[in-house]
Every structure is written in structure tokens, then in C-alpha cells.
Symmetry: D2
Subunit: 335 residues, 4 copies
């Protein structure tokens, strides 16, 4: 049987999530009128230490796009890294949800935006109506290269966004992994650092299909409640999505799972040593691997993606089996 | 405790669906690359007796809009009944998914379209570029008034659509209830009668959140696979949606559940007698009920919606408890 | 040769407009940076007695849609009369420009909306996210039935819009004809009565292809400058559009031309007498006319549209030739 | 007075165009039902030696976007050069008209796309639904760097597009200048070379505000007639746009004007000599010019844009005055 390190996006569902979903299988109001959905705002407000509005959706693409829809009008643009998920992996969903708004691509080491990279994009734009002007910045935490923005790095971006009158969105598909890596509070890399809207991912981290869109200015969420319905994302049995998220929040399961995934990645990273193309800060390992070497690993039953020429991406998940990780680490060391 | 007849949209999840979902909690490919998702085309092709392409989505709104997106360009229109769900209950989702295409409203007894009603809409449209022209017809089976199109009624609409070069979409949120009522094959009121795309609903009928978009011309589905992703509806753990649908199809659970809901409705309908505003053909009962009478029922613990003045809507579900139904029937009879 | 009463939309261009356009054929800045375009805000501010922002576009459809784009988000709706031009004659342009926002149709005698008709639409809408909610009202002055809203009628709508927190747009394709009929100030039926955005039509009234979108809250125009460019309506030689509009404003040419068209309509209306289906308040005459009678008129060389069964629409323009009008009046009287 | 070389986009209107417009000021059918508009298909069919459908619009942005709308669905993409007008100078209009379709940027010397550059874009795209896939290529003739694709270069792109099943659009805002430079037939760099849709520009070349969208597969135009109306670009007095275009076609005025602009550019280019950053093949000159030198030229009354650091763009037009061109040539030579 394959030892799977292709992605965390198809990982199994945590038992606590299953239990919560089954407990939710009792009559209640449809859509988000049920008791569980009604608890979300409070749960996230407590986590972030300020009033939040939180909406569930089933996918990260929907979370990102609905979050951005609160910040960007159709004639505007979103500055993001050229490797961003919204640019490369969502089939143009931002163009659909934002009615043709433009993604404006920036550079940055480790798939990380910087104030300088943002400035470089903006400063190249003539101030006239012939150009699309950015209305928001979107960053990914952890990044598409498995890197983590520190609180001060996010704060610098937050300041930059504020100075430029831009909204700041965080694609937190692996937000938990970032918090686990940093050992900081969730607020320290989001609202306290100037983030306006956060896609807080749970699906990769133990849920079945549930993400929270967290708005740190609760009134902003009102229009997005309409947009969610309009996009067909207001599930009638929404209580099952709320149940997943609440289970993930309870007793810090989200953080515990993220730590497990990160630890698994560290074991493999240590074995990879000089091969590493990026510091391993979350649950993704990018490493040099020749085609011949990749073949050797695959023959031993390890599944992972090639990444560019002579490169590979290995992803651990909350449920990566320790024996698989150890085996992979050993196999890499033995190459 | 309330005896709930508000809607079937928040009904509980069938045990067989739970079992199938749990069985799906093993590593597999993400999105719709898993073994279960790959079975859908075959399963529906067998059901309908011809090659079909079937895509899962989590909501009826997404199913309807993605189905229509295959039939209607942005500058076109969709003829539907003025009470249609796509017109009244989806927050303008067709306008979003179809990029501004227009819903063109028709009349019809029992919320049923007829070739005559369609002709009346079309014939009022000048043949020039100043007018929006219809590209499709959308009908609801069972209708928003709990009525069921017979095979010959659908076939007449199918013929009309073909004559007018219009696509034909069926919103089958309660498709199972219609089949259960008619005792016909699923094909008899869909593909055999000229339907091009069917939103086959399972969420109201025992699933957690899963609907199938069935295209009877499989190639049509290709573009919709992109549109589904673009709309954020391609869940990464899609195997759990496929599992729900396959469980509903297995041993005809969808039909069994629909029959149960219909039977429950019949019991209540019989008691309602002269009060009925519509023949009860599926699982919805529309009846005359004065405010005073509605209050009496609610005091006894029955939940339902008022429907216009001196009217009420009662909806049964696959899991309506027999004792609740009997109690409601008796309470109505006793008014 | 035909004596043309089909529409005012293809009327000839006034000599003063030609002169102004030719005078504009000297080097200047492109787009709306030229000296003439820069005068528009001031010219309309003087006309309306308050600060206005005015943008030229070439067509009424663009004017209406860009005006509404300032008032209505994609998930919102626009209440308009079921005969409105935006509903029937713009090929769904509002759906395109407003990204799928919905037109919500109201009734009203003489194609006129009333606060009651608006209330009837709004009051039928449940206050939830499943329904589209209106964000603006659009009225046509003069209406699609050639009727004119009085200042107090517009003010009542303005009050209603304000009470309901709706924007108010006026499609003034024949705004001049309305002012000419009423003998009031332009402000009395627009900004002073609560109108937020006015499509001020000149093309039907002596220009070649130029309309002004007038915003009575100038800051609102800023986003529309981007939307105009984005829609391909920022002509590079915009000075020729500005020239048309300024020529129409100079010495009240717009009002003089509208009066001429109205007077021509009155002559014909007087002859029509009992045949009139609507009071003639602007430059359109709706009258009973049997097919046989219509044929008689057409044989004499008069061009006009049938309007429903046994009805006809006759439109005069600023350049309707007096001898043609007199001839038509006599021909109608002689039927 | 300034000697203007900023752009050809605000050049004056040719006397023959004025005459044609004035001759068109007689009663005729509205929109594109008039005799002049009806001649366009034939006129372009003769020019290109095959059946064409040609639609007028007022701006290049509208022409480009409506042409692309015939080739690219909302979920698709358009490959273009990163300096393309549709990318940089239309305020995101393609995103609006194509409902969120994506522009996919390619590299190329002289702002020219090549089959290799197109292949590089396509080959980087995984074949799955997570990525946007291109449906068309758009090239600019002459390019944004004043360069001209030869017939064989266009044919190579046409072959590449056909091999890849992509549509091919040509933004011909300066199509006349390209033909004038090459001395070839219009067909040689368009339909004969695989171009599907051409934005044939006249506004920069002597018209007031008129461009033709030419479809070499006439049936394709049908849907675009609706899209044009829907975008508010179907002017009611369309005869004035048709008149401009027909006047430009008559006796090859478009070519004569383009030759004049090109010749003016050559005179300046010769003087610029070693300063040239690009070969001058049309009517744009890109040259090295230090800030100090630019200031010297501006003091002498010459108007032009800076272009990057130590660079400038000089544009000639059909009406550039010979004495101004000679003066500029001498001034540059004297630097």
C-alpha cells in the first residue's frame, strides 16, 4: 500500500469531528439558523480576542473568494504572490466571484509577499482610469512554499496595506500549521497584525469539508452572507459544517493536529538536510530530488509530487502515520 | 418538543448514508479523482439507461446554476415559473452563475409550466437584439406547489423546448418524490422526455449535503467541471459527497425514502380534505388554514409555515415520525 | 418619401451640434482630459444649482447601466416598471453591468411607478438572504407611455426611496421633453426631488450620440469613471461628445428642441382625440388604431409602430417637419 | 503652441470623414438597420476576399473585448503579451466582458508574441480543472512597441493557434500602419494567416470614433450583435459610425493616412539613429532620451511621453504636420 505524502487535502477525518457531526444529526433550523452555526461568531471572537463574524463554507476556494469579495470591487485588483493558490489553483474563481477583478502578481522569496514587493507592483501603475488599481492584498499562511510569515512580517504587510488603503486577506488553508510553528496566538498573525479577513482552514487539518471565513470587522460579513447564498454555498444542513468547525476548535484540536503534521514534516526535513529547497516551517517539504531518486522512493511505496525540475514536494498531514514518516526519512537519508 | 413540518431541507441523515461516509474515510485521491466519485457516471447511466455524466455538488442552488450554465449564455434567458426556486429562493444565484442572464417568468397552475405558457413568453419577444431571448426552460419536479409533472407533460415540454431550440433543465430537488408518486422510471420524466440536465436532489431525501447534476449528453459536462471548480464547489474530499449519493442509489434508498415522505403527506392530506389548495402529489401539503386554526395547531407543537393569507404549507420528510404525522392528521381533522 | 414617426432615436443632428463638433476638431488631450469635457461638471452644476459630476457616454443604455452601477451591488436589485427600457430594450445590459443584479418589476398606470407600487414589491420580499433585496429604484422620465412625472410625484418617490434606503435613478432619455411639458426647473424633477443619478438624454433631442450621466453626489462618480473605461465607453476623442452636450446646453437648445417635439405631438394628439390611450405629455402618442386604419395611414406615407392589438405609437422629434405633422393630424382626423 | 507627438489617439478627423458623416444626416433606420451599416459586411468582404461580418463600435476597448467574447468562455483564458493594451490600458475590460476570464501573459521581443512564447505559457499549465486554460491568443498589430508582425509571423501564430485549438484575435488599433509598412494585402496578415477576429482601428487613423470588429467566420458575429447591444455599444444613430468607416475605406483612405503617419515616423527615426530602442516599423518611435534631453525637446515645444527610464515614445499621426516632424527630427539630431 502507498505511503501517501501527496497532499493534506484528502486526509482523513478526525474522530472528534465525526462525533460532533453525528451529534448534530438532530432536528434544527436549516441553513445557518441552527444552534451550532449560531455559536461560530462567539467561538472565533474568543479565539481572536475581539468581535468577529465567522461564516462556514465547504471549500477554501469559496472562503478565499468570498473573503476577497468583501474587500475588492469588480473594477479593482488583488495583489498576491505569483504562486498563490488564488492565481494558480482555483480555475479563475476570483475572476468569477469578483466579477472580473484582476490578480496582480508580485514576487517574493519563499512565496512570501513583502511591503517592497507590494510597492513594486503599485508603483508601476499609472494613476489613471486606464489601469486596474489594487484594493486588497492576499497572502497565504503558511505559504505555497511551506513558509510562515512571522507576526512582525504580517504586521509590516498590515501597515503597508493600511498606508496604501488596501484590505488585507489571509488565505489560511494551513493557518493552524503556521500558528503551531510560531507558537504565537492566532491573533498575532491575523487581526492584531492588520488582517481584515481570514480564510481559516480546517479541511486539510482534520475536518471533512469546512472552512471559516473570519471577518475582524463583523459588519463586513453582512453582504457576504448574501454572496454566500448567491454562490450556492449556504448548505441547508449547515449544522454539519458548524459542528466540524466547533469540534476542531474544542480543546485546541486544530492546533494539536497542526503540530502533529508539522512534527512529521520536521522528521523528514531533518533527513533531507542539504536537499531542502526551503526551510521547513509548516507541513510541506520542498527538496531537491533527481528523477532517478524520486523513482527510488516511489518504488518503496512513497507517494509525492514532482515540483519543477529535480524537485519534489512532500506534504504531511495530521494523520500521517509515524511509521510512514520514519520510513520516508530513512529512505531519503539513504539515497 | 416540536413536531417539525417546516421543511424537508433540514431532515436528518439516513443511517446508510452515515455508514457510507464513514466507509469512505480512507486515503484516496482528492477532488473527484477518488474511486467513489469515479463511479457516479456509471451509476446514473444505469439508472437512466443511457450514457450520463454526473457531478456532485453540495447544494441545490449550485446544482441548478451549474446545470443551467451548460445551457444558457450570458446574453440569454431562462424561462421558468414565477414561483420557481431559482427565481425566489437563491438570492439571484442564476444571475451570478449565468453572468447576468435573465429569468423570464411564466404562469401556470400548480406552479407547472406548459407549452402554452412558454409560448406566451416567447411570442411576446420581438426578434431583435434589444430583447433577451430564452435559451432554456427550467421546470421543478415536484413543483413549488407540491405538484408532479407526468411523463407526458414533461414530454410535451421537451418537445416544445426542442421545437424552440431551447435546452430543458429540471430542478429535481424532490425528483425522488415525483418518481415515487408516478411509479414510473426516472428516465420517463427526464431524459426520455427531453430533459437535458437534471438537478437530482438527495439532501432533502436522506443525504447530508449532496446533489447530482446529471447531463444526458455527457460531453456537456466537460465545461461544467471547470465551472464547478471555479465556483468553489469542487470539494477536496469529494469522496464523502460521492459516498452519500451512491448510498442513496444503492437498493433504491432514494425511492424508498421518497415513498415514506409521500405516504406521510398522504395521511395528512386525507385529513385535510376540503382544505387542500392543491392535490397532494409529493411531500408538500398546501391547505387553507385561518390564523386562528394555525395557532391551534402550533399550540399543540406542530411546526409549519404560513403560506399567503389563510394558508399554510406542511412538508413531510423521509424521517417524519409516523406518530407525529398521525397526530397532525388528527389535529387538522379536529379543527 | 416616408413621413417618419417611428421614433426620435434616429432623428437628425442639430446644426448647432454640428458646428460645435467641428469646432472641437483641434488638438487637445485624449479621453476626458480635454477642455470641453472638463467643462461638463460646471455646466450641469449650474443647471441644477448644486455641485454635480457629469460623465458623457454615447448611449442611453450605457448611461442607465453606469448610473445604476453606482447604486446597486451584484447581489442587489433594481425596482422598475415592467415596461421599463432597462427591462425590455437593453438586451439584459443591467444584468451585465450590475453583474447579475435583478430587475424587480412593478406595476403602475401610464408606466409610472408610485410609492405604493414600490411598497408592494418590497413588502412581498422576505427579509432573508434567500431573496434578492432592492438597492435602487429606476424611473423613466418621460415614461415609456409618454407620461410625465410631476415634481411632487418624483418627490414622493424620492421620499419613498430615502425611507427604504434605496437609491433613485432617473432614465431621462426624454428628460428634456418632461421639463418642457412641466415648465419647471430641471432640478425640480431630479435632485430637488431626491434623484441620485440622472441619465440625461441628448441623442434623441438633437445630438449625434451623447448622453450625460449626472451624479448629484459628485464623489459617487469616481468609481464610475473606472467603470466607464472598463466598459469601453471612454472614447479617446471624447471632446466630440462633450461638444455635443455643451452645444445642447447652450442657450437652452435642449429645451427648445424638446418643446418643438412636444408641440408637434400636441398637434397630432388633438386630432387623435378620443383615440388616445394615454394623455400626451411629451413627444409620444399612443392611440387606438385598427389594422385597417393603420394601413390607410401607411399608404399615405406615414411611418409608425403598431403597439399591441389595435394600437399604435407615434413619436415626434425635434426635427419633425411641421407639414408632416399637420398632414398626419389631418389623416388621423379623416379616418 | 505645442507640437504634439503624445499619441495618435486624439488626432483630428479627416475631411472626408466629416463629409461622409454630414451626408449621413438624413432619416434612416436606427441602430445598424440603416443603409450604411448594411454595407459594412460587403465592404470588408471585398477588402479581405472572403465573406466577413463586420460590426462598428466606438472604441478599441469595445472592439477588442467583443471580439474576444466570441472566442473565450468565462472559465477560459487569453494569451497575450505582457505589454498588451488589453492587459495594461483597458481598466480590466476583458475581465468585465469575458466575465472573469484570465489574461495569461507571455514574453516576446518588440512586444511580439511567438509560437515559442505561447508554448511556454501553455506548457506550464497542468491539464486539470484547477487551472485556467487558454482559449485564444491576442496579438497587437502594430505592437505596443511599434513593431509589425510579417505575414509569415502571423501565419506561424495562426498555425500554432490552430494546433492548440485556440482562437486568434488581432488588436489592429494600428492595423493600417502595419499594412502600410508591409505593403501586403490586409488579408495576408489577418484571415489568410489564421486570424479569426480583427479589431480594425480607424479612430487613430482619421475617424472620429469608429472601429470595425471583423469576423472571418460570419456566423460568429451573431452572438456578438447581442453582446454589443448588451454592452451599450449599439448606438441608435449608428449610421454615423458606419459613415466614418466607409469613408475610411473609400479609395483606400485608411492606407493613405497610415502611410502618412509612417512616413512622418521614418523621418524622425532617421534622425534618432543610434538612439532607437526598436526598429521603427509603424508610427511609433521608442528612443533613448535622458531626462535632460527630454527637457530640451519639451522646451522647444515638442510633446511626447517618457517611456521607462531614459526613454521616450514619440507617436506620429495621419495629420502630423510635416514642419513639426522636420523640426523634431532636427531637434533630436541636434541633441
Amino acid at each position: 500500500m502507498a505511503m501517501q505524502f501527496l497532499s493534506d487535502n484528502a486526509a482523513s477525518v478526525h474522530p472528534a469531528v465525526w462525533r460532533a457531526m453525528q451529534a448534530a444529526d438532530a432536528p434544527d433550523s436549516p441553513y445557518d439558523g441552527d444552534a451550532l452555526s449560531q455559536q461560530l461568531d462567539k467561538a472565533f471572537s474568543e479565539m481572536f480576542g475581539r468581535p468577529c463574524a465567522a461564516l462556514w463554507v465547504a471549500t477554501g476556494t469559496a472562503a478565499n473568494c468570498l473573503a476577497l469579495a468583501a474587500l475588492v470591487p469588480p473594477e479593482g485588483g488583488v495583489i498576491c504572490h505569483h504562486t498563490a493558490h488564488i492565481e494558480n489553483d482555483e480555475c479563475g474563481a476570483p475572476g468569477f466571484y469578483l466579477h472580473g477583478a484582476k490578480l496582480m502578481l508580485a514576487e517574493g522569496e519563499g512565496a512570501k509577499l513583502t511591503p517592497e514587493a507590494i510597492a513594486a507592483v503599485i508603483d508601476s501603475i499609472r494613476m489613471d482610469v486606464h489601469r486596474v488599481h489594487p484594493h486588497a492584498v492576499s497572502i497565504t499562511q503558511a505559504t505555497e512554499r511551506g513558509r510562515v510569515f512571522t507576526p512582525s512580517e504580517v504586521a509590516a504587510l498590515g501597515q503597508c496595506a493600511q498606508d496604501r488603503k488596501l484590505g488585507l486577506h489571509m488565505d489560511g488553508a494551513r493557518f493552524g500549521n503556521a500558528v503551531a510553528h510560531l507558537g504565537c496566538s492566532p491573533a498575532a498573525i491575523s487581526c492584531d497584525a492588520g488582517v481584515d479577513a481570514l480564510s481559516f482552514g480546517f479541511t486539510k487539518n482534520g475536518a471533512m469539508g469546512a472552512e471559516a471565513i473570519v471577518f475582524f470587522e463583523p459588519a463586513v460579513a453582512d453582504v457576504i452572507r448574501f454572496r454566500r447564498k448567491r454562490a450556492g454555498h449556504l448548505q441547508s444542513k449547515g449544522r454539519f459544517l458548524a459542528a466540524q468547525i466547533l469540534a476542531m476548535l474544542e480543546n485546541g484540536l486544530w492546533l494539536e493536529n497542526a503540530r502533529a503534521a508539522n512534527a512529521a514534516a520536521q522528521e523528514i526535513a531533518t533527513a533531507a538536510g542539504e536537499r531542502l529547497l526551503e526551510p521547513v516551517e509548516a507541513n510541506e517539504i520542498f527538496l531537491r530530488l533527481e528523477a532517478r531518486e524520486a523513482a527510488v522512493l516511489r518504488e518503496q511505496g512513497f507517494g509525492f509530487y514532482d515540483w519543477g525540475e529535480n524537485g519534489a514536494r512532500i506534504v504531511t498531514a495530521w494523520d500521517s502515520r509515524p511509521e510512514h514518516c520514519t520510513a520516508l526519512a530513512q529512505a531519503i537519508a539513504a539515497l
